[in-house]
Amino acid sequence: MAIFMGNKVAVIVGTTTITTFVSSVSLSREVDAVEITAMTDSLNNFIGGIERPTVTLEVFNDFAASSVNSLFEDALGSKLAIKLIPVSGTVTATNPSYSMSVLVSQWQPINGSIDSPASASISLPVTALTKATS
């Protein structure tokens, strides 16, 4: 595997692939930095705490049955399974998948302006995350 373009990320919500409605996606893995600086330390000291990943999506909205809007709006306030693959296709050690459970804490059924298609920009907390290589 080498450097690759980020324009073929597969985005699967539940069992529905919404890749062609997504214009931007990011999975951010962040761990709390828990301070354990002692009186004798000359520099701040930290240990890793709980991971707080988030997934951020920018999607073009579609009110068709089982399409983007219903997937997210119907799950508002509950958890949803999302799977991301860096390059759409076979999952391998060099093209791992990230399967996660996210809390749908926000959704934008209406988000429009006169000069652009209806879209939604959301950031969702990840409550479970699994990386797979096959």
Binding site: V11, T19, T20, S23, S88, D115, P117
Partner: protein, 132 residues
């Protein structure tokens, strides 16, 4: 988005305006009033994995010779945002162009002139944004 289909369907939408000749090429001589569907400028990859692309298309509306006073009067009808001769209304009457694109919008119209067969014609350039 298949450019040839998009251009053909844009031409078909323009043809819904009674009396407007439509072309999908620059003609050697033009019968006015006429509309010429230009080429598409494409921006690929609006969504992931070759989902949708963005495109813009220029439509040239040629009304009459610069010396004809009736030309401006005709243009007013085509420039209106609504009505049976409105270019914007005709194109946006089917924003998917029969399923050829996801959606479109006629964004602006700019006044100008165009020379065809050594004759200057009063003209307007329409820009259409397409996603598909």
């Amino acid at each position: 988005m298949v450019p040839s289909t998009v251009r053909a369907n844009l031409k078909a939408r323009l043809a819904t305006i009674t009396g407007l000749k439509t072309y999908d090429y620059i003609p050697d001589s033009v019968n006015v009033p006429g509309a010429v569907v230009g080429q598409l400028d494409l921006n690929f990859d609006a969504t992931f994995n070759r989902g949708f692309d963005n495109a813009t298309c220029t439509i040239l509306l040629i009304v009459g010779r610069m010396s004809e006073s009736a030309g401006q009067t005709k243009l007013d009808g085509y420039l209106a945002s609504t009505g049976s001769t409105s270019v914007k209304a005709a194109i946006e009457g089917d924003v998917t162009l029969g399923g050829a694109v996801q959606t479109l919008r006629v964004t602006n119209a700019t006044a100008g002139s165009v020379q065809v067969a050594s004759t200057d014609y009063l003209a307007y350039r329409y820009n259409v944004e397409l996603i598909g």
